[in-house]
């Protein structure tokens, strides 16, 4: 656990991964995850976001929530870069199973296989599931 840690500006930097597996709007998981991610940015940790299963739907372009009286948070994924959160991983198999391609997503991501995603999870100090 400790061998991956670096000392930076006097603090310990850990590898955090937020795993998103739920579609947005139907449940609160996606929004909760995004808010925790934004708050975690203040602690300057090594943060990765994983989008797996229905979680890939969180990144859809063309979201319009006007008709459901909920605030859209889809544009907020674009703000992540400004929060220095630049490691966004989308699972290839999950995207394909839903007929989606990278062009359907609102932000630039790295598309990786399920096996690669498993390796990434294994490298983390902390994994948080949403």
């Amino acid at each position: 656990m400790t061998d991956e840690m670096d000392m930076e500006e006097g603090g310990v930097v850990k590898k955090f991964m937020f795993v998103n597996r739920k579609a947005p709007y139907g449940t609160i998981y996606a929004l909760e995850s995004l808010e925790v991610v934004l708050i975690s940015a203040a602690f300057e940790q090594d943060v990765s976001l994983a989008f797996v299963d229905d979680g890939v739907y969180q990144l859809m372009k063309n979201v319009n929530t006007d008709g459901i009286e909920m605030k859209s948070f889809s544009k907020t994924y674009r703000a992540l870069e400004g929060y220095d959160i630049e490691k966004l991983y989308v699972e290839k198999e999950s995207m394909e199973a839903r007929g989606l391609t990278e062009d359907d997503l609102i932000v630039d991501v790295q598309v990786i296989s399920q096996s690669e995603m498993g390796d990434l999870m294994n490298e983390q100090d902390v994994v948080l599931s949403f």
Binding site: M1, G118, D125, V126, S129
Partner: protein, 99 residues
């Protein structure tokens, strides 16, 4: 790393997705409704068996018994009680609870 799942494999894909990501040397613990994944004749059986050579699979016995599924556990799956659950968490540096 320790993967914990608590959803039935015939209701949600959490077990399936977890087993797709788990790496040799890691452990999987089935609790609550996920105990069904540790039993014979389910949709998850083939996939559980497929990971077992390299991955230690555990099931929480109180949850198994509560569902009347004792005696149906797949060969090679280890039973743990609450103390064993705590031991698993402390033995692994990271832990992921699949929702």
């Amino acid at each position: 790393m320790l993967h914990i799942v608590n959803k039935s494999p015939s209701d949600r894909n959490s077990v399936d997705t977890c087993l797709g990501h788990v790496k040799p040397g890691s452990a999987v613990l089935f609790i609550e409704d996920a105990v069904y994944a540790a039993t014979k004749g389910t949709v998850a059986e083939a996939k559980v068996k497929a990971v077992m050579p390299g991955v230690a699979v555990y099931v929480l016995e109180p949850d198994l018994n509560a569902r009347g599924m004792q005696g149906r556990v797949l060969d090679g799956v280890k039973l743990v009680d609450y103390g064993g659950f705590v031991d698993l968490v402390t033995e692994h540096s990271t832990c992921q609870s699949w929702l």
